[in-house]
């Protein structure tokens, strides 16, 4: 009898190992989908009476909103994962670089005179210019931080650069605090983010969703192409695997690391602009919160793995949106971190597997 039990337990464990994660990830949307179908949900009021509908439109809306929100986390998470992959450092300052990106965008709109009255051509040109400036500023800021704070500590104990990262995070937050004050600041809703672009079987797609996903996809493609197909990208991968061997092969390791920080910072800058347009508020603490979520996304996907970071970002966006609209926003953080712990327990190396030195 005990042998049978043991064998059953072993089978169970194998199944949990293979399918547990999938079940856990699908459980939340599946539960609410079934709940919507059987119990219905209130979709507005009609002539004073609540309209109860029994379909999956609300779930679809949640998931699409989640994907577009997750696109921003994905952009930030890529910066975390690139840096972790190459120097094994949790770059705590990264979220605050993203915050500076939002602030630069908001400031630049004022300088350029972009407002609600600006025509479409001027708006597109202005936003493109802002995007380039944000990416340039955040990229160089990230490189500067690496040069001052992390490069002198290349051979130091592993946790020393973590503390300089925390130090830079505090400094940047203080810059943000002095720049725009301690409370969230509204910015012009330049793209009228809540205008409907189109509907797919009842699911309304807003402009902001299109913007977030439309900025994220080309940047992800460009980044993966860059890492996979260029000389500099090969140098990055080689340095990530073994910096010493890469140096012996004639790769300038320091420049390669700087390049990694430049790319990560540029993505954070783009995310900063998109965030300002998407949320239409900016404040100095946004970087800290976003950084925590994005780092969680990077870990969930498998740290060091760019595709994993994107996947993790999108999944976390969906979980957040579902939890926001069903359980209430005050529980969202706990739900996200609960999911993170589940992922870590069920698959200790993240969804897509890590790509770091220790993983070989």
């Amino acid at each position: 009898m005990p042998e049978v039990v043991a064998r059953a337990l072993a089978v169970l464990r194998r199944y949990i190992g293979r399918w547990g994660l999938l079940v856990a990830l699908v459980a939340l949307p599946a539960y609410y989908g079934i709940h919507d179908l059987t119990h219905g949900y209130q979709a507005g009021l009609h002539a004073g009476h609540p309209v109860i509908r029994h379909d999956l439109t609300q779930l679809g809306f949640n998931i699409f909103e989640g994907l577009s929100n997750g696109a921003i986390w994905a952009l930030i998470a890529m910066g975390y994962t690139l840096v972790y992959g190459i120097i094994e450092l949790i770059n705590f300052a990264h979220g605050d670089v993203f915050m500076i990106g939002s602030f630069v965008a908001a400031g630049l709109w004022g300088t350029l005179g972009l407002g609600l009255a600006t025509g479409p051509i001027g708006l597109v040109a202005g936003l493109l210019l802002t995007l380039l400036v944000c990416m340039a500023v955040c990229g160089s800021l990230n490189v500067l931080i690496e040069r001052v704070g992390y490069r002198p500590l290349r051979n130091a104990p592993k946790l020393a650069p973590l503390i300089t990262a925390v130090g830079f995070s505090f400094i940047l937050q203080n810059v943000g605090l002095l720049w725009l004050g301690g409370s969230p600041q509204g910015v012009n809703d330049l793209i009228r983010e809540n205008d409907t672009v189109f509907q797919i079987s009842g699911v309304v797609i807003h402009r902001a969703d299109v913007l977030a996903i439309g900025v994220m996809i080309p940047l992800v493609l460009a980044l993966t192409w860059f890492i996979g197909n260029t000389r500099a990208g090969r140098a990055m991968r080689a340095t990530a695997q073994d910096p010493e061997a890469a140096r012996l092969m004639g790769i300038n390791v320091n420049n390669t690391i700087s390049l990694t920080f430049l790319l990560g910072g540029m993505l954070a800058g783009a995310a900063g602009l998109v965030y300002a347009l998407y949320e239409t508020t900016v404040w100095y603490f946004q970087g800290f919160e976003a950084g925590l979520i994005a780092f969680t996304a990077a870990v969930m996907g498998g740290i060091g793995n760019v595709r994993g970071a994107v996947l993790g970002g999108l999944i976390i966006g969906c979980i957040q949106e579902l939890s926001d609209s069903r359980l209430g926003p005050q529980w969202t953080e706990a739900v996200v971190f609960g999911y993170l712990i589940l992922v870590m327990v069920l698959r200790p190396r993240g969804l897509l597997g890590e790509e770091t030195r220790e993983a070989g």
């Binding site: 949790i90 704070g149 500590l153 925390v166 993170l340 200790p348």
Partner: protein, 466 residues
């Protein structure tokens, strides 16, 4: 452990001689007991003292109390003496005289320090908080410094410790009436009111269980994944604290009071230390100083114990440690539990000292603050951690708000330094780390590794050149 020798009949008439021989016999017995069962004898002495205070607090004084006092004092003295004899040799061998003298001087300075400052001065308040942070940092040092498990969710234990005070030392659970060893106003209010020592014990039990629960999912994980999972637990506890108002636990009572906070906490009471209130900070200071000394002592003993060496082995090379027979799961979980315990004790103290426990106190930045203390001080080095904790908390709670705040005005500039406080703090962190990456006072073992590693490389280079 021989039988006490019978006194010769000729001396039986001399009462002094009888007493002396009795004393000798007693000492011998106690020595034997301390040798056979050291922890039971400590527990016996502690039990007597607790019973004594219980009698005093609950109003039974008189001859019975005095007798118990004397008995407890004698037992305690004899047991300390027995331990002292057993440890003296090792102590003298391991700790040089100047070090012992320095420790004695420091403890004396620590005890008389409050007399140099007014009762409610800002410096005293900052010192009390700094000592509480020393206890926190020593706890986190067990997990991160000794066992090498990067813990970013230490705030969870601060929260649990503080909530122990709120739950077991206030009228928050207004439907229950539990009073254990409390006096004064606390003995008449509704709610759960335990003696502060018992609250500390509760905090120790709850946080060590929480530490094990948090440790369990991280057993299979590598270093930075451990960091993010502990971070996740810390944040979840924070969210529970904020939303505790909507978690009902029956009787119309909720888990926490969220951001509104639980206030009107019982003040600790210790005979001989005077009354605890916020205008008289000296008793608070002595209490946390005593807790700090206790935790420091436990830390020093742990570091050199079998368990401490197992932690360091796990930190240096997990695979090698396991193949040498170190039980990995137990070693890691004890590190989490013990580290959590110290955090809980300090959290309970800070909760009582802040006179209110609200969810806003338990932010992620707290974990980072304590982590910064131990890394700036020198990871794994107990004295480094103590100094790092003192330094950073004085900078944060005294130097920036109290001392430097007038500086811009003196220089004729019109801004407030508090606006720049965490920028300055961040700048100092960067500066210290770049100037001394290994921390201010690195652990001896690590320092040896660093220099020995360089020497070995140099030797290899020399060989290669020849």
């Amino acid at each position: 452990m021989s039988e006490p020798t019978r006194t010769p009949p000729s001396e039986e008439t001399d009462p002094v001689a009888v007493l002396l021989s009795l004393r000798a016999a007693l000492i011998e017995r106690v020595d034997a007991l301390a040798g056979r069962a050291p922890w039971w004898s400590v527990a016996l002495a502690a039990g007597l003292i607790v019973v004594r205070f219980a009698l005093r607090v609950s109003g039974f004084g008189g001859p019975l109390g005095v007798a118990l006092s004397v008995l407890a004092g004698i037992t305690f003295g004899l047991i300390s003496r027995a331990f002292w004899i057993r440890w003296r040799e090792a102590f003298v061998r391991r700790v040089p005289w100047w070090s012992r003298a320095l420790a004695g001087v420091l403890i004396v300075i620590g005890i008389i320090l409050p007399f140099f400052f007014t009762e409610a001065s800002g410096f005293m308040g900052a010192t009390i908080v700094a000592l509480a942070y020393v206890v926190m940092a020593l706890g986190l040092n067990v997990v991160v410094g000794f066992a090498g498990l990067l813990d970013l969710g230490y705030v969870a234990f601060y929260a649990l410790g503080a909530y122990c005070v709120a739950w077991f030392g206030s009228d928050f659970f207004f439907n229950s009436h539990v009073h254990v060893l409390v006096s004064g106003i606390a003995a008449t209010e509704s709610g759960i009111h335990l003696n502060f020592v018992l609250i500390l014990v509760c905090a120790v039990i709850i946080t060590s269980v929480a530490g094990i629960i948090i440790g369990l999912p991280t057993l299979r994980l590598r270093s930075d994944y451990i960091a993010i999972v502990t971070l996740a637990f810390g944040e979840i506890i924070g969210v529970l604290a904020v939303n505790g108002q909507s978690i009902h636990i029956g009787n119309g009572e909720t888990l926490t009071n969220g951001n509104s906070g639980i206030s009107a906490l019982d003040l600790p009471y210790f005979p001989g230390l005077g009354s605890f209130n916020l205008l008289k900070l000296r008793p608070w200071y002595w209490l946390i100083f005593a807790i700090m000394l206790l935790v420091l002592f436990i830390n020093l003993r742990l570091r050199d114990s079998r368990l401490g060496r197992a932690w360091i082995a796990v930190r240096e090379d997990e695979v090698a440690a396991v193949s040498m027979g170190i039980p990995l799961v137990r070693t890691k979980l004890t590190a989490y539990a013990i580290g959590a315990t110290f955090g809980g004790m300090s959290g309970a103290f800070l909760g009582a000292f802040n006179t209110t426990v609200n969810a806003g106190q338990f932010a992620f930045s707290f974990s980072i603050f304590v982590l910064a203390m131990i890394i700036v001080g020198g990871l794994g080095s107990i004295w480094g951690v103590v100094l790092g904790a003192l330094m950073l908390s004085y900078i944060n709670y005294y130097l920036i708000p109290d001392v430097l705040n007038g500086l811009p005005g003196d220089l004729g500039l019109h801004f407030s330094l508090t606006q720049l406080s965490f920028g300055i703090f961040g700048f100092l962190l960067v500066l210290v780390m770049i100037l001394r990456p290994q921390g201010l006072f690195p652990e001896r073992r690590r320092r040896m590794e660093l220099t020995a590693g360089i020497a070995a490389e140099d030797a290899q280079l020399v060989e290669a050149q020849e």
